[in-house]
Subunit: 435 residues, 2 copies
Amino acid sequence: MEDFSGYPIHEPQFSTSASFSVDTENLQRQIDELSRFSDTPAPSVTRILYSEKDVLARRFIKNIMASSGLSVREDAVGNIFGRWDGHEPELTAVATGSHIDAIPFSGKYDGVVGVLGAIEAINVLRRSGFKPKRSLEVIMFTSEEPTRFGISCLGSRLLAGSDALANALKGTVDGQSISFFDAARSAGYAKGLEDLTSVFLQKGSYSAFIELHIEQGPLLEDEGISIGVVTAIAAPASIKVDFEGNGGHAGAVLMPYRNDAGLAAAELALTVEKHVLESGSIDTVGTVGILELHPGAINSIPSKSHLEIDTRDIDEKRRNNVIEKIHQSAITIAKNRNVTLSEFKIVNQDPPALSDASIVEAMEAASKELNLSHKLMISRAYHDSLFMARISPMGMIFIPCYKGYSHKPEEFSSTGDIANGVKVLAVTLAKLSPA
Amino acid sequence: MEDFSGYPIHEPQFSTSASFSVDTENLQRQIDELSRFSDTPAPSVTRILYSEKDVLARRFIKNIMASSGLSVREDAVGNIFGRWDGHEPELTAVATGSHIDAIPFSGKYDGVVGVLGAIEAINVLRRSGFKPKRSLEVIMFTSEEPTRFGISCLGSRLLAGSDALANALKGTVDGQSISFFDAARSAGYAKGLEDLTSVFLQKGSYSAFIELHIEQGPLLEDEGISIGVVTAIAAPASIKVDFEGNGGHAGAVLMPYRNDAGLAAAELALTVEKHVLESGSIDTVGTVGILELHPGAINSIPSKSHLEIDTRDIDEKRRNNVIEKIHQSAITIAKNRNVTLSEFKIVNQDPPALSDASIVEAMEAASKELNLSHKLMISRAYHDSLFMARISPMGMIFIPCYKGYSHKPEEFSSTGDIANGVKVLAVTLAKLSPA
């Protein structure tokens, strides 16, 4: 980097993308290598929180951070931070990152692109001669996926200061009755601790947080667009519903005498779809991913049914209105079918998050400078960014992925698309922490 | 029995029920003792075909038959026959019977009342001094329940001459991959055989077949009626349906781009109910007892769904019309929801059976003579009688059971109700094989 030349500087000196070169070969090799820390055979990836493979993968990430000149620290639950000190290190840092845990039999890009890609973005900036004013920090979040303890975005929720979660984890066990703390300790974390408030970050700890991620939807690929600039993250609400009827023999109980808990569930599933469509917004979605009947025999009228409903929106009020309609429908269906609505439990109801306008502007400007087609879009899936938004201005960069596939071995983003994402991230970081 | 007195006899001499006495205490003790041959603790009963407990229970039945003076024989699959020779033994016999196998965690009356009660009916006749013209035969059918090999009414289907079943059993294995023949041999049957045609009975082998059974429905108890005279047995058809869509992330795939296999299943389940109700007959029933979603995760749009549908009627044409409507709806739903109807398989489609008019008449007359309230009714559940009807005039006698419960430990019929059923059976047998 040159010193001040005497001429006024209106644009940062790295404004031309010409000086930015992503080492795509190395980045792809790292993605491939990381995918081998898996409990299931390639091409699938299974990497569960605090497992042996997760610990090895964490070491792999820390080594790459260190090789890239970042100073590495970890908190009590294993969120990993790699910092490149800016030349005004007293300023709040600009952060970027994602996760590397992977649900069973999933793919190698979800999350990973936003961790290895973030480190590469730092490398890109370094190689270009850029020196940031604010420190830049790469974060690898612990357990974005809920696989082991049923809690998604565990690390980022704690960073955002969730007392409720910090308390709940004291009593949390996995499917094998291993406590969260025993699991964390086996991976080298939470040593001697039962208090996780040390993980909490103050609001304003970062001046910006940006996450690079595969879209996990088909829009960018379908439209042939390179970059998605995320303006909002839709937040899910999860609902568990149970109906109970009397059951009985499929031959012996005549139709007028039935109170079929299975048909109540079927009706509610269709009602979820109806209320979602009635919202009138393309951004409202609702899904019944779980529908179980008891006793589940062909010649038995279902005496119990269980549904789990996921509904999301970028507008919290609109989403909550859908939830209320679903609740009213569940009550009405139970009444009409003479079954008991034995449970209607809203398991979580996270608020959506909006990207920060200045970060959106920076991401758009970066795309333009790099001559990459881009569009403003919504993140329908949620991410650690949803929780980072509670303590920092937030933005997300999406890149296309094959057919929108995610959470399966077929998940794929091309080296070129990943490189584009890394470049946009690098330029955005530079804009948010100018030299 | 007196010789001909010189006066014209219009009624059989045992026409007054006064001489008929059921040994209710002994019968109840036998029912209780038999219930102890179970693989699960009382009050539940679990007695699976050819298991150790089944073999012991069979020995128990054969001993009681022999004690009652019946000559006992067994066929190659373990249908057990106890015969009381009539004084014109060259005439075709009158038969009665049921089964003693019990699905897991069920009760002690289903089937059992029609086996032990049939032997007691013979005892009643014997004690009254009655001597039948036609031989009377008690049959204990093998495997009315489908638990072990997935085939219901295995013994009676074979008796009725099912070549298809005799062939299929050559390749049939249970859940532990034990072949039907190995299981049968371990219980002392099918010795050295692979040919089950020896089990087949010619049409006309019996002049009548009557089965005494608990109602397995609530009508008799609700209406305070002692005896159900069954005029027809509704027969089930079983259908398996699979839908396939593309699945996807519950957040990422917007509603217009979905083809949700779960909602297709929900819609079909409600359509089954609709078509059944449209039949306009109280006798048409339809049930979706199994509805499964894949992958079955709250944040995954179901990519596959599986339904199993049971529909029954006493009118075969009407039932088959319902099946055809369900099929058309499945096609339409698949088309509208852009999912694939990857399977629509009619697993079985047994024809219903009508009771023989002369047997119905005899059962009604018996009830009247015994001053027992009775009503004509349909058997909504199916029984070995459905298959015996293929080779013999058939009738069934129902007795009340507590709340219509069956296939659970709470299954119960009172000693008095059982005794009433035994008396009606005894009088009916006597009428069909007069002295």
